[in-house]
């Protein structure tokens, strides 16, 4: 952690042609399928979701109709806008770490009804206490919602980044499962 990498500190400007016509960045709401990696990269295995998106990107990304989104701790913003948006993906695949007493690193798909209450809060970010945004997306908006979960092994009491070995080893298995949902 203490290795210095001062690359970029001496940069003063980036040379872009002011007249350059660069298109607006892609809107993830336009995608047919959206894979959303959720979690906090500072809380051990909770960083599974963001690590999973990086894992996919490092292996060539996804087909054109599929969007990959590292929502990190900002999933509220993503889902909140999606619930009431005029356009939205036909299917979303949430990839997240859960603690459901399974074997560490086990990859499995869960039904929304099985989402642990704490995670339901996470998904809805406390705005819909009697339901959650994922269920709203499915029931009110006609979006197919799939949840791919990985059983955590390590959630540190103090903030520390990095995945446990068993969860890191699950990334490839999670990719195989998620890609079947494209």
């Amino acid at each position: 952690m203490t290795e210095r990498s001062p690359i970029g500190l001496a940069v003063t400007s980036v040379h872009r042609d002011p007249a350059e016509e660069r298109p607006e960045p892609e809107d993830f709401l336009d995608k047919e399928v959206l894979v959303i990696g959720c979690g906090n990269v500072m809380i051990g295995d909770d960083g599974l979701g963001p690590a999973f998106i990086k894992h996919l990107e490092a292996r060539g990304g996804a087909p054109a109709h599929v969007g990959l989104l590292d929502a990190g701790t900002g999933v509220r913003t993503v889902l909140f806008g999606m619930v009431l948006a005029e356009k939205r993906p036909k299917r979303i695949v949430i990839v997240d770490a859960v603690d459901m007493g399974r074997a560490p690193g086990e990859v499995f798909e869960i039904d929304l009804a099985e989402v642990p209450p704490l995670k339901a809060d996470d998904f809805s970010m406390h705005q819909l206490p009697t339901s959650n945004l994922l269920r709203e997306l499915r029931d009110q908006c006609g979006v197919e919602v799939r949840v791919v979960a990985v059983q955590v092994a390590w959630l540190p009491d103090e903030l520390r980044g990095g995945l446990s070995d068993s969860v890191a080893a699950s990334l490839e298995r999670a990719r195989e499962l998620v890609e079947r949902l494209y």
């Binding site: 940069v11 350059e20 903030l159």
Partner: protein, 480 residues
């Protein structure tokens, strides 16, 4: 027999909180506690990291107000390196700040607090949420979503990323804006401005008049205030002196590097969240409702109270009307919502103003920096209050010490006081119903609190306390 009511979690807040209300034998409110139950902690996490990485790291702490942390961190890193960003770099940072503000304020007013106002505190709990608001006022619901989406698109255009931003760097901003990008963003920002104008006009006509009685009574406490101003007293959300105002309206302005001379933090055994107070008033700290000591507030109402004027014409007009109607300082807690709409208009106007500034597309967006031992304090006004990042580094530029005071933390004492005041007002003789309890929640929600990143202690205690008062006077304290 004495009774303890518990409302948990307080819904439509960012993060967890638990309110405990202790009733006495007569069924009246004996005491209240707003308990923070979420454990977070990142100050320690920062130690040993290259300071230029901090602006990127802090956005992962919490997805609720990443831009505020990103910018306060970049400013603190500027201070460590001893550099001043280029004019273009500063304006790009300010542009992102203003656009992010519009997203947050629209969300909070219409969908978080909006459920209370649009549907009423007595509405069915199951429908008193964002979906309920959208169903009650569908056209407005669509506009809300559309305009928040526009904000996210602008941030994507300007910074490449809206969720976990990376473009504010020590010395400025890493991505210049092209003319074409500016044109796209300006069109969207102009649309947001139209919605901001609509929002405040609609609220003044259709929402606030119905709740003026509640505004004058619920959560009203007399405290001091804190915000940020330019040298001439103009409100500034990105930079300036911190102004600390006493409850009587007198104030002092100070540089953010001196914050420890003016504010201190009290630790109470039942909460993870510290209680900042105005140390410079030399009266200690007390949350007594009638005679509070050292208590000040931040966030929207505080900022309007401390400033002398606003820099954009339409918001200034609204500010003048607000001040004329409610005075200075205004202590009516529910007017945080009204002040939030004045700020929404200000930010929408300011974003358009910045995008029309030719300097916004300048090519020199940053200055070079060199690692060194130093201290840097950076502060911005986050939507939820004054956000201070304070870093110290060794000669390699690695963080040796980091202290953060976040917006919600400043409001910890006033939130507790406002809840107590509201509970005492609305719960008498043991009688209460869901509408009353939700009104207590309204007193909290006015502050738009975010507890996710406000809790820092790492000692393993859980911040819940339930006191049960027995008829014989004995008190049983339960903590978990």
């Amino acid at each position: 027999m004495a009774k303890t009511l518990t409302i948990a979690p307080v819904s439509r807040l960012e993060g967890h909180a638990k309110v405990t209300i202790n009733l006495d034998d007569a069924g009246n409110v004996a005491d209240t506690f707003v308990n923070i139950v979420e454990l977070r902690g990142f100050e320690k996490f920062c130690q040993g990291r290259p300071v230029e990485e901090m602006p990127r790291i802090v956005t992962s702490i919490c997805g609720v107000c990443p831009w505020s942390h990103h910018l306060a961190s970049a400013k603190a890193a500027d201070g460590v390196f001893g550099v001043t960003p280029t004019p273009t770099g500063r304006k790009l940072r300010e542009l992102c700040n203003s656009v992010a503000y519009t997203e947050e304020h629209i969300l909070h007013f219409f969908f978080l607090a909006g459920a209370d106002f649009v549907l009423g505190p007595g509405a069915d709990y199951k429908t008193r949420n964002v979906i309920g608001v959208a169903a009650a006022v569908p056209e407005i619901g669509k506009k809300v979503v559309h305009n928040r989406h526009l904000g996210a698109r602008i941030l994507n255009i300007v910074s490449g990323k809206s969720i976990h931003p990376v473009t504010a760097v020590p010395g400025g901003f890493s991505k210049p804006l092209t003319d074409h990008e500016r044109d796209m963003a300006l069109k969207m920002a102009s649309e947001i401005l139209e919605f901001a104008k609509f929002s405040i006009a609609w609220a003044k006509e259709s929402v606030f008049p119905k709740y003026l009685d509640a505004v004058k009574t619920v959560g009203v406490i007399k405290t001091g205030y804190m915000g940020t101003v330019r040298p001439d007293g103009t409100m500034d959300l990105y930079d300036g002196k911190i102004r600390l105002m006493k409850p009587d309206g007198s104030f002092v302005d100070f540089d953010d590097t001196k914050y420890a001379d003016y504010i201190s933090e009290k630790v109470l055994p039942w909460s993870y969240l510290k209680f900042p107070y105005a140390k410079s008033w030399n009266e200690g700290f007390d949350m007594d409702l009638d005679h509070p000591k050292g208590v000040y507030r931040t966030n929207t109402l505080a900022r309007l109270n401390v400033c002398d004027k606003l820099s954009t014409p339409m918001a200034q007009k609204e500010f003048e009307a607000f001040r004329q109607a409610f005075g200075r300082p205004c202590h009516l807690t529910l007017l945080y919502h009204w002040a939030r709409l004045v700020e929404l208009l200000y930010n929408a106007e300011y974003a358009v103003q910045l995008l029309k500034d030719p300097e916004i597309t300048g090519r020199e967006t940053r200055v070079a920096v060199k690692p060194r031992a130093g201290r840097g304090v950076g502060h911005v006004e986050a939507p939820r209050g004054t956000l201070i990042h304070d870093y110290e580094t060794d000669d390699k530029g690695l963080v040796t010490n980091a202290n953060l005071i976040v917006g919600t933390t400043h409001n910890n004492a006033p939130i507790n006081m406002a809840v107590k005041q509201a509970a005492k007002l609305l719960i008498k003789g043991g009688k209460y119903d869901e509408a009353l309890l939700n009104t207590v929640e309204m007193a909290i929600r006015a502050y738009d609190p975010c507890f996710s990143c406000a809790t820092h202690n790492l000692d393993g205690r859980l911040a819940v306390r339930i006191d049960i008062h027995r008829p014989d006077g004995a008190v049983e304290t339960m903590a978990n």
